[in-house]
Protein backbone atom coordinates (compact mmCIF):
# COMPACT_ATOMS: atom_id res chain seq x y z
CA UNK A 1 0.00 0.00 0.00
CA UNK A 2 1.19 3.46 -0.79
CA UNK A 3 1.32 5.54 2.28
CA UNK A 4 -1.84 7.55 2.32
CA UNK A 5 -0.72 11.10 1.97
CA UNK A 6 -3.06 13.82 2.96
CA UNK A 7 -1.27 17.09 2.61
CA UNK A 8 -2.45 20.36 4.04
CA UNK A 9 -3.96 21.29 0.70
CA UNK A 10 -6.23 18.26 0.79
CA UNK A 11 -7.10 18.75 4.42
CA UNK A 12 -8.15 22.26 3.46
CA UNK A 13 -10.48 20.91 0.82
CA UNK A 14 -11.96 18.51 3.36
CA UNK A 15 -12.47 21.35 5.78
CA UNK A 16 -14.23 23.35 3.11
CA UNK A 17 -16.47 20.39 2.27
CA UNK A 18 -17.26 19.99 5.95
CA UNK A 19 -17.80 23.72 6.25
CA UNK A 20 -20.37 23.92 3.48
CA UNK A 21 -22.01 20.62 4.42
CA UNK A 22 -22.24 21.41 8.09
CA UNK A 23 -23.25 24.99 7.31
CA UNK A 24 -26.19 23.60 5.40
CA UNK A 25 -27.00 21.21 8.22
CA UNK A 26 -26.91 24.00 10.75
CA UNK A 27 -29.26 26.11 8.66
CA UNK A 28 -31.71 23.22 8.87
CA UNK A 29 -31.28 22.95 12.62
CA UNK A 30 -31.92 26.66 12.93
CA UNK A 31 -35.13 26.29 10.93
CA UNK A 32 -36.24 23.45 13.20
CA UNK A 33 -35.61 25.68 16.20
CA UNK A 34 -37.93 28.36 14.81
CA UNK A 35 -35.10 30.46 13.45
CA UNK A 36 -32.86 30.52 16.51
CA UNK A 37 -29.25 31.27 15.63
CA UNK A 38 -26.97 28.25 15.68
CA UNK A 39 -23.25 28.96 16.00
CA UNK A 40 -20.63 26.63 14.62
CA UNK A 41 -16.87 26.36 14.89
CA UNK A 42 -14.72 26.20 11.82
CA UNK A 43 -14.57 22.48 10.99
CA UNK A 44 -11.33 20.73 11.84
CA UNK A 45 -9.90 17.96 9.67
CA UNK A 46 -7.63 15.39 11.31
CA UNK A 47 -5.64 12.43 10.15
CA UNK A 48 -5.57 10.19 13.23
CA UNK A 49 -4.34 6.72 14.12
CA UNK A 50 -7.40 4.46 14.48
CA UNK A 51 -6.60 3.97 18.16
CA UNK A 52 -6.93 7.67 18.90
CA UNK A 53 -10.32 8.24 17.32
CA UNK A 54 -12.32 7.63 20.55
CA UNK A 55 -10.25 10.27 22.36
CA UNK A 56 -11.38 12.86 19.80
CA UNK A 57 -14.47 13.23 21.96
CA UNK A 58 -13.67 14.75 25.32
CA UNK A 59 -14.41 12.35 28.14
CA UNK A 60 -14.51 8.84 26.74
CA UNK A 61 -16.37 7.61 29.81
CA UNK A 62 -18.89 10.44 29.86
CA UNK A 63 -22.43 9.48 28.96
CA UNK A 64 -23.57 11.18 25.77
CA UNK A 65 -26.20 10.78 23.08
CA UNK A 66 -24.93 9.59 19.72
CA UNK A 67 -26.94 9.66 16.49
CA UNK A 68 -25.27 7.46 13.92
CA UNK A 69 -25.95 7.56 10.18
CA UNK A 70 -24.16 6.15 7.18
CA UNK A 71 -24.18 8.07 3.93
CA UNK A 72 -24.08 5.53 1.13
CA UNK A 73 -23.93 5.73 -2.62
CA UNK A 74 -21.17 6.81 -4.98
CA UNK A 75 -18.99 7.21 -1.89
CA UNK A 76 -19.49 6.15 1.72
CA UNK A 77 -19.31 8.36 4.78
CA UNK A 78 -20.06 7.68 8.41
CA UNK A 79 -21.64 10.50 10.37
CA UNK A 80 -22.00 10.75 14.13
CA UNK A 81 -23.89 13.57 15.81
CA UNK A 82 -22.92 13.75 19.48
CA UNK A 83 -24.77 15.68 22.17
CA UNK A 84 -24.32 15.92 25.91
CA UNK A 85 -27.25 14.42 27.84
CA UNK A 86 -28.34 17.88 28.90
CA UNK A 87 -28.21 19.24 25.35
CA UNK A 88 -30.16 16.28 24.01
CA UNK A 89 -32.84 16.86 26.65
CA UNK A 90 -32.92 20.57 25.75
CA UNK A 91 -33.27 19.72 22.08
CA UNK A 92 -36.14 17.31 22.76
CA UNK A 93 -38.04 19.79 24.89
CA UNK A 94 -37.43 22.59 22.35
CA UNK A 95 -39.06 20.53 19.60
CA UNK A 96 -41.71 18.77 21.68
CA UNK A 97 -43.65 21.47 23.47
CA UNK A 98 -44.56 20.39 26.97
CA UNK A 99 -42.00 17.59 27.08
CA UNK A 100 -39.53 17.28 29.94
CA UNK A 101 -36.91 16.11 27.46
CA UNK A 102 -36.99 12.45 28.48
CA UNK A 103 -35.31 9.81 26.34
CA UNK A 104 -38.54 7.91 25.86
CA UNK A 105 -39.79 6.68 22.51
CA UNK A 106 -40.98 10.11 21.38
CA UNK A 107 -37.83 11.80 22.69
CA UNK A 108 -35.59 9.36 20.86
CA UNK A 109 -37.62 9.89 17.72
CA UNK A 110 -36.99 13.65 17.94
CA UNK A 111 -33.24 12.95 18.07
CA UNK A 112 -33.57 10.51 15.18
CA UNK A 113 -35.38 13.02 13.04
CA UNK A 114 -32.95 15.84 13.85
CA UNK A 115 -30.07 13.50 12.96
CA UNK A 116 -31.83 12.63 9.74
CA UNK A 117 -32.41 16.25 8.74
CA UNK A 118 -28.90 17.41 9.69
CA UNK A 119 -27.26 14.56 7.83
CA UNK A 120 -29.43 14.87 4.78
CA UNK A 121 -28.72 18.61 4.53
CA UNK A 122 -25.04 17.84 4.82
CA UNK A 123 -25.19 15.15 2.15
CA UNK A 124 -27.29 17.38 -0.11
CA UNK A 125 -24.54 19.99 -0.04
CA UNK A 126 -21.79 17.44 -0.68
CA UNK A 127 -23.84 16.08 -3.53
CA UNK A 128 -24.19 19.48 -5.17
CA UNK A 129 -20.46 20.18 -4.87
CA UNK A 130 -19.19 16.83 -6.05
CA UNK A 131 -22.05 15.64 -8.21
CA UNK A 132 -22.01 12.39 -6.25
CA UNK A 133 -25.22 10.73 -5.09
CA UNK A 134 -25.33 9.95 -1.38
CA UNK A 135 -28.26 8.57 0.57
CA UNK A 136 -28.39 8.32 4.35
CA UNK A 137 -29.38 5.17 6.20
CA UNK A 138 -32.10 5.62 8.83
CA UNK A 139 -30.43 7.08 11.94
CA UNK A 140 -29.66 4.99 15.02
CA UNK A 141 -29.58 6.53 18.48
CA UNK A 142 -27.58 5.39 21.50
CA UNK A 143 -27.22 6.86 24.97
CA UNK A 144 -23.98 5.65 26.52
CA UNK A 145 -20.32 6.39 27.21
CA UNK A 146 -18.74 8.37 24.39
CA UNK A 147 -15.88 5.92 23.89
CA UNK A 148 -18.25 2.96 23.55
CA UNK A 149 -20.41 4.81 21.04
CA UNK A 150 -17.57 5.86 18.80
CA UNK A 151 -15.75 2.52 18.85
CA UNK A 152 -19.02 0.75 18.07
CA UNK A 153 -19.59 3.09 15.14
CA UNK A 154 -16.08 2.33 13.84
CA UNK A 155 -16.77 -1.41 14.09
CA UNK A 156 -20.28 -1.21 12.61
CA UNK A 157 -19.18 0.98 9.72
CA UNK A 158 -15.99 -1.08 9.25
CA UNK A 159 -13.94 2.10 9.37
CA UNK A 160 -10.85 0.35 10.63
CA UNK A 161 -7.91 1.54 8.56
CA UNK A 162 -4.78 2.24 10.58
CA UNK A 163 -5.23 5.92 9.87
CA UNK A 164 -8.57 7.62 9.88
CA UNK A 165 -9.64 10.94 8.45
CA UNK A 166 -11.94 12.69 10.86
CA UNK A 167 -13.85 15.92 10.28
CA UNK A 168 -15.19 17.52 13.41
CA UNK A 169 -17.42 20.53 13.88
CA UNK A 170 -18.94 21.82 17.08
CA UNK A 171 -22.20 23.69 17.21
CA UNK A 172 -24.11 25.46 19.92
CA UNK A 173 -27.21 27.51 20.53
CA UNK A 174 -27.62 30.08 23.28
CA UNK A 175 -31.31 30.19 23.96
CA UNK A 176 -32.11 26.49 23.82
CA UNK A 177 -28.66 25.62 25.20
CA UNK A 178 -27.71 22.87 22.80
CA UNK A 179 -24.07 21.92 22.36
CA UNK A 180 -23.02 19.17 20.06
CA UNK A 181 -20.42 17.89 17.66
CA UNK A 182 -20.72 16.46 14.22
CA UNK A 183 -18.08 13.88 13.33
CA UNK A 184 -17.65 12.73 9.76
CA UNK A 185 -15.53 9.73 8.85
CA UNK A 186 -15.14 9.24 5.10
CA UNK A 187 -14.04 5.84 3.81
CA UNK A 188 -10.54 5.85 2.37
CA UNK A 189 -11.98 5.23 -1.09
CA UNK A 190 -14.44 8.10 -0.65
CA UNK A 191 -11.66 10.62 -0.28
CA UNK A 192 -9.83 9.45 -3.37
CA UNK A 193 -13.03 9.81 -5.36
CA UNK A 194 -13.85 13.25 -4.01
CA UNK A 195 -10.31 14.49 -4.59
CA UNK A 196 -10.38 13.19 -8.13
CA UNK A 197 -13.65 14.95 -8.90
CA UNK A 198 -12.34 18.18 -7.46
CA UNK A 199 -9.21 17.82 -9.60
CA UNK A 200 -6.79 17.21 -6.75
CA UNK A 201 -5.02 14.01 -7.73
Amino acid sequence: MEERKIDSNRLDVLKELANIGVGNAITSLSQLLSGEKVDMDVPAAFLLPLQDVPASLEGEETAVVGVYIEGKGDVNLTILFVLSLESAANLISALLPGSAGDFDEMGISVLTEVGNILTASYLNAISIMTNLQLLPTPPEVAVDMAGAIISTVLAEARVIDDEIVLLKTSLNTRQTRIEGSILILPDAGALEKIFRILGLT
Binding site: E61, A63, A142, D144, M145, G147, A148, I149, T152
Partner: protein
Protein backbone atom coordinates in the same frame (compact mmCIF):
# COMPACT_ATOMS: atom_id res chain seq x y z
CA UNK B 1 -1.50 2.28 25.10
CA UNK B 2 -0.66 4.92 27.65
CA UNK B 3 1.23 4.18 30.80
CA UNK B 4 1.43 6.35 33.91
CA UNK B 5 2.36 6.00 37.55
CA UNK B 6 -0.24 7.01 40.13
CA UNK B 7 0.55 6.47 43.85
CA UNK B 8 3.38 4.08 42.98
CA UNK B 9 1.05 1.95 40.90
CA UNK B 10 1.56 1.59 37.21
CA UNK B 11 -1.67 2.22 35.32
CA UNK B 12 -1.79 1.24 31.67
CA UNK B 13 -4.61 2.40 29.48
CA UNK B 14 -5.37 0.12 26.55
CA UNK B 15 -6.94 1.88 23.56
CA UNK B 16 -9.07 0.25 20.87
CA UNK B 17 -7.21 -2.33 18.77
CA UNK B 18 -4.54 -2.35 21.45
CA UNK B 19 -3.17 -4.58 24.22
CA UNK B 20 -0.89 -4.52 27.25
CA UNK B 21 0.78 -6.98 29.64
CA UNK B 22 2.01 -6.32 33.19
CA UNK B 23 3.65 -8.45 35.86
CA UNK B 24 3.26 -8.46 39.68
CA UNK B 25 1.62 -5.10 40.17
CA UNK B 26 -0.38 -2.42 38.46
CA UNK B 27 -3.66 -1.90 36.73
CA UNK B 28 -4.67 -2.28 33.11
CA UNK B 29 -7.77 -0.40 32.08
CA UNK B 30 -9.74 -0.11 28.87
CA UNK B 31 -12.56 2.39 28.46
CA UNK B 32 -15.63 2.29 26.29
CA UNK B 33 -16.23 -1.29 25.26
CA UNK B 34 -19.35 -1.17 23.10
CA UNK B 35 -19.56 -3.85 20.46
CA UNK B 36 -15.83 -4.30 21.09
CA UNK B 37 -14.68 -7.04 23.47
CA UNK B 38 -12.09 -6.78 26.22
CA UNK B 39 -10.19 -9.98 26.94
CA UNK B 40 -8.22 -10.38 30.18
CA UNK B 41 -5.76 -13.24 30.57
CA UNK B 42 -4.22 -13.96 33.95
CA UNK B 43 -1.66 -16.41 35.36
CA UNK B 44 -2.01 -16.35 39.14
CA UNK B 45 1.23 -18.20 39.86
CA UNK B 46 3.54 -15.87 37.93
CA UNK B 47 1.13 -12.95 38.42
CA UNK B 48 1.24 -11.99 34.78
CA UNK B 49 -1.86 -10.32 33.39
CA UNK B 50 -2.80 -9.00 29.98
CA UNK B 51 -5.71 -7.19 28.40
CA UNK B 52 -6.65 -6.83 24.73
CA UNK B 53 -9.40 -4.59 23.28
CA UNK B 54 -10.59 -5.95 19.94
CA UNK B 55 -12.85 -4.20 17.44
CA UNK B 56 -13.94 -6.97 15.13
CA UNK B 57 -14.06 -10.75 15.00
CA UNK B 58 -12.01 -12.00 12.09
CA UNK B 59 -8.92 -10.64 10.44
CA UNK B 60 -9.35 -12.46 7.15
CA UNK B 61 -11.98 -10.16 5.69
CA UNK B 62 -10.02 -7.06 6.53
CA UNK B 63 -6.52 -7.38 5.18
CA UNK B 64 -5.23 -3.93 4.46
CA UNK B 65 -3.99 -3.22 0.98
CA UNK B 66 -0.43 -4.40 1.58
CA UNK B 67 -1.69 -7.62 3.14
CA UNK B 68 -0.50 -6.70 6.60
CA UNK B 69 -2.85 -7.03 9.52
CA UNK B 70 -2.84 -5.04 12.71
CA UNK B 71 -3.37 -8.11 14.84
CA UNK B 72 -4.74 -6.20 17.80
CA UNK B 73 -7.88 -5.21 15.86
CA UNK B 74 -9.31 -8.70 15.54
CA UNK B 75 -10.30 -11.40 18.02
CA UNK B 76 -8.76 -14.27 16.08
CA UNK B 77 -5.34 -12.64 15.85
CA UNK B 78 -5.24 -10.49 19.00
CA UNK B 79 -5.69 -13.34 21.48
CA UNK B 80 -2.77 -15.46 20.17
CA UNK B 81 -0.63 -12.30 20.13
CA UNK B 82 -1.60 -11.47 23.72
CA UNK B 83 -0.74 -15.04 24.72
CA UNK B 84 2.66 -14.71 23.07
CA UNK B 85 3.38 -11.49 24.96
CA UNK B 86 2.30 -13.05 28.24
CA UNK B 87 4.61 -16.02 27.74
CA UNK B 88 7.49 -13.56 27.30
CA UNK B 89 6.65 -12.16 30.74
CA UNK B 90 6.68 -15.64 32.24
CA UNK B 91 3.02 -16.49 31.92
CA UNK B 92 2.23 -20.15 31.27
CA UNK B 93 -0.51 -21.06 28.87
CA UNK B 94 -1.72 -24.04 30.93
CA UNK B 95 -2.29 -21.75 33.93
CA UNK B 96 -4.06 -18.96 32.11
CA UNK B 97 -7.64 -18.07 32.91
CA UNK B 98 -9.64 -15.51 30.94
CA UNK B 99 -12.36 -13.01 31.68
CA UNK B 100 -14.23 -11.24 28.91
CA UNK B 101 -16.53 -8.22 28.67
CA UNK B 102 -18.29 -6.17 26.01
CA UNK B 103 -19.94 -7.26 22.80
CA UNK B 104 -23.06 -5.22 23.38
CA UNK B 105 -25.48 -3.83 20.85
CA UNK B 106 -25.52 -0.12 21.52
CA UNK B 107 -27.74 1.05 18.71
CA UNK B 108 -31.25 -0.06 19.47
CA UNK B 109 -32.77 0.10 16.03
CA UNK B 110 -30.14 -1.95 14.24
CA UNK B 111 -31.93 -4.64 12.33
CA UNK B 112 -29.29 -7.18 11.54
CA UNK B 113 -29.40 -10.93 12.11
CA UNK B 114 -26.32 -11.06 14.26
CA UNK B 115 -24.81 -7.93 15.70
CA UNK B 116 -21.14 -7.02 15.48
CA UNK B 117 -20.99 -7.46 19.25
CA UNK B 118 -22.42 -11.00 19.25
CA UNK B 119 -20.09 -12.01 16.46
CA UNK B 120 -17.15 -10.61 18.41
CA UNK B 121 -18.07 -12.53 21.57
CA UNK B 122 -18.59 -15.74 19.64
CA UNK B 123 -15.19 -15.47 17.97
CA UNK B 124 -13.46 -14.57 21.24
CA UNK B 125 -14.92 -17.71 22.86
CA UNK B 126 -13.95 -19.88 19.92
CA UNK B 127 -10.39 -18.53 19.84
CA UNK B 128 -9.94 -19.02 23.61
CA UNK B 129 -11.29 -22.54 23.36
CA UNK B 130 -8.86 -23.38 20.58
CA UNK B 131 -6.03 -22.23 22.84
CA UNK B 132 -7.44 -24.21 25.80
CA UNK B 133 -7.87 -21.11 27.93
CA UNK B 134 -11.01 -21.36 30.09
CA UNK B 135 -13.35 -18.38 30.49
CA UNK B 136 -13.91 -17.96 34.24
CA UNK B 137 -15.78 -14.68 34.26
CA UNK B 138 -17.77 -12.63 31.82
CA UNK B 139 -20.11 -9.70 31.37
CA UNK B 140 -21.16 -9.64 27.73
CA UNK B 141 -24.07 -8.62 25.53
CA UNK B 142 -26.83 -6.23 26.47
CA UNK B 143 -27.05 -2.72 25.10
CA UNK B 144 -24.65 -0.68 27.20
CA UNK B 145 -20.98 0.24 27.12
CA UNK B 146 -18.43 -0.96 29.66
CA UNK B 147 -15.07 -0.05 31.16
CA UNK B 148 -12.86 -3.00 32.16
CA UNK B 149 -10.11 -3.01 34.80
CA UNK B 150 -7.59 -5.80 35.48
CA UNK B 151 -5.70 -5.66 38.80
CA UNK B 152 -2.41 -7.44 38.27
CA UNK B 153 -1.63 -8.29 41.92
CA UNK B 154 -4.81 -10.35 42.33
CA UNK B 155 -6.21 -10.99 38.87
CA UNK B 156 -9.40 -9.23 39.95
CA UNK B 157 -11.44 -7.86 37.04
CA UNK B 158 -14.08 -5.18 37.43
CA UNK B 159 -16.60 -3.78 34.98
CA UNK B 160 -18.21 -0.37 35.25
CA UNK B 161 -21.08 1.00 33.24
CA UNK B 162 -22.84 4.32 32.92
CA UNK B 163 -25.23 4.79 35.82
CA UNK B 164 -24.95 1.23 37.07
CA UNK B 165 -21.76 1.33 39.12
CA UNK B 166 -19.10 -1.32 39.21
CA UNK B 167 -19.22 -5.12 39.41
CA UNK B 168 -16.55 -7.78 39.74
CA UNK B 169 -16.52 -10.70 37.32
Amino acid sequence: MISMIVDNTEIVKVKIADMAVLKDNGLIITVGLGSCVGICLYDEISRVGGLAHILLAESQQFKSRDGAVNKAKFADTAIPLLLEKMEKFGGKRSRLRSKIAGGSQLFVFKKTNISVGEKNVETVRRTLKKLNIPVVGEDVGGSHGRTMRLYIDSGRVTISTVGKGEIEI
